[in-house]
Symmetry: C2
Subunit: 415 residues, 2 copies
């Protein structure tokens, strides 16, 4: 049961956009037991589309194509599908009705001829109605391979995938069960982790695969297996994962995908009716942005301040000016005072504070670029740690954000 | 002069990570006149890698492969290159030296056997030294096609691409010049834009291609051309772009890629020695994060506050409580007061404020999910606009962030 994804659009091949659709589709297909064999990004070009469709047909049972369905002249996916399936375009009354509804409800104008043309679909296609846009999805079959064409707009694609494509796949195919479980570790490099678990890894059963996913300051370890019996499979993977977790007990922080770290913080604080505030200097709003991205933040987040200019740490946050003069603005005492003052200003139980030098230039401190102090104030204490996150601004901010969330979670779990 | 990109890693095909390397490599190759024909993401699987290399060789002059170079057992790219090139792995003394340097300088431990093995390279490969990591890049040739293998870690890949791969490509190949120019418009849908410029589009010269790139609330229009004479090419595209800009004068906001919108705001405020603050409620730190992501923000950004809880708008930002009671917290008067108070609190010239309902639930206001008020306070006035950004939390925050930056830039340009 293999699928392939083809994303169409010159904008991908000149690097104007990052293709996020493929990762989304892959993850969702995996969930329903469909393995993605290959992802191919190609140009808005007739010959190229035809070849990619034919190549994918040789390997896959399902081919999901995104992009090239817009109302303008550079969009040629539908016409090329017709050529590939030796079909012609006909107007679909139901799609036309949907287009007219969207225009009267949201755009409050009559559809243009280009929009009306979007109601044209290959005569043998099953139409997948798109309530969020004017381009319909289509489902066609050739030599036992299913071809699905979806709009490239992520929001429209996602709804069509869930509401129209997946029910048809689930009905049509008997799928195996695919199970992944990922352990999140930090503080040890990929090769050091590998060395520690070598003997265990060598004795893994053949049907369980281990992958190492290193990223900034972390290594994620993923166990995967495919099979027919859901319970048996989960039990086998979970049992190996328990062994792995014990081997890495000192560096493991939890499992991925169950919930992300912000969701864990959110659920703990909400349950306990405790509250959070932040005072971010060098992370510049990056932490609070992660927190407010998850619905329900208002249950525990009272607020945040970014006192970017040194003087604003005094005038807005109420840090003692002499403390800054004595220790410099990038220091543990200032980070701790920022956390304490955030708790006071926002009347919260927990506060996170960051001060450091994101770079590329040194700013108001004496320390090296990449130096960051992270303080966590809890109802019990204020703790602070110093880090060196290297000399690349984007990475310093990202590493400090990840580390601050980790330290906050650990502190909450202690109490 | 065509290139292809092959990204290797099961984590891409199960959707655990988004492949951002391909977009970066494509964009950079374009800059030096190399067109990317196809991007292919494949599994850490010997057969799959061999087939992808052979397929790409048929179509491309340069094949850039990323991923699968780590020290652990699931990384097999180097071994598979050896098989494809009928070669064997030998230890590279210079790579070994680099690995030892990295361990003694950053990790302060002796390299493990798995790291030492990273010094093994195919005997006929040109080694591309990686000062930022232990996995070297390699450059090999077969039947007039160049194959480059780079680590998948974005930071290491980017440096190797710029410092090692590009100088070799530039030396080896005579490349045409590729020129893109992209106009940013907002406020009109893709098909309405297309209708307005239809006659102009039909008369475009054959060697200039137009593409429509719709995204949240905006349509970007990209003109592209390829040729040998840089000046002639740029003149032809720029002249057509001027015509296009005139046709769309009322909805055009500028050109993309010259500088992004934050960079334009940063350069104007820095030049004028003016300052900025923010009070973000529903955008939850998303705007200040965009601003601090660009180096040099400390020249004009004084600070930001996220008064997430309604009461904190009173206690921290100093909004009049009766104003909130009279108009509700999601209202133009409150947004305007937030912007004014941010200017006061942070002693700045410009302030941006947002209040709204990001969803999925309604929160403290009476309005529909997606309602957002954005206020901009300048030295001259405070303006506010109301928007309806739909009912998808992530999109509401993103649309409000983009719109707020647009309104700020427009206001700065007025003064």
């Amino acid at each position: 049961m293999l699928a392939e994804i083809i994303t169409i659009g010159d904008e991908i091949l000149i690097g104007q956009i990052v293709d996020t659709n493929s990762a989304y589709i892959s993850k969702e297909l995996n969930r329903i037991g469909v393995q993605v064999y290959q992802i191919t990004s190609i140009q808005d070009d007739r010959q190229h589309i035809l070849r990619a469709l034919e190549d994918a047909k040789k390997r896959a049972d399902i081919v999901i194509v995104t992009g090239g369905l817009g109302p303008t002249k550079d969009d040629i996916t539908k016409e090329t599908f017709c050529e590939y399936f030796n079909d012609t375009l006909v107007e679909s009354p139901e799609v036309l009705q949907n287009i007219q509804n969207i225009f009267s409800k949201y755009i409050k104008k009559k559809p243009l001829p280009a929009n009306i043309r979007q109601a044209m679909v290959p005569s043998t296609a099953q139409v997948l109605q798109n309530p969020n846009g004017t381009a319909p999805g289509i489902w066609m079959e050739k030599d036992n391979t299913v071809f699905v064409s979806l709009p490239g707009v992520p929001y429209e694609m996602k709804h069509l995938l869930t509401d129209e494509v997946f029910p048809r796949i689930i009905k049509k195919y008997n799928r195996p069960y695919i199970y992944h479980k990922t352990l999140l570790t930090y503080g040890l490099g990929e090769s050091a982790v590998a060395e520690r678990i070598e003997e265990w890894e060598d004795n893994l059963p053949k049907n369980i695969k281990l992958a190492y996913l290193p990223s900034l300051g972390r290594v994620r370890l993923r166990l995967s297996s495919t099979g027919k019996d859901k319970d048996e499979l989960e039990e086998a993977v979970n049992s190996k994962m328990n062994e792995l977790r014990q081997l890495l007990d000192d560096i493991a922080v939890g499992f991925e995908d169950e919930t992300n770290i912000v969701e864990r913080i959110a659920s703990l604080l909400t349950q306990r009716k405790q509250t959070l505030s932040l005072a971010e200097s060098c992370t510049g709003g990056s932490i609070v942005k992660e927190i407010t991205a998850i619905p329900g933040a208002s249950a525990y987040l009272k607020g945040s301040v970014v006192p970017y200019e040194t003087h604003k740490k005094v005038s807005v946050l109420g840090i003692d000016k002499t403390l800054i003069e004595q220790h410099t603005v990038v220091s543990a005492p200032v980070a701790q005072a920022m956390a304490k003052q955030a708790n006071k200003l926002f009347e919260t139980d927990y506060a996170v504070a960051t001060t450091g030098i994101a770079g590329p230039t040194k700013g108001d401190g004496d320390d090296e670029v990449g130096t960051v102090f992270i303080a966590i104030a809890s109802p019990m204490r204020v703790e602070c740690q110093k880090f060196s996150f290297g000399n690349h601004r984007e990475r310093v901010i990202l590493k400090a954000t990840n580390k601050a969330l980790e330290l906050l979670l650990k502190e909450i779990l202690k109490n």
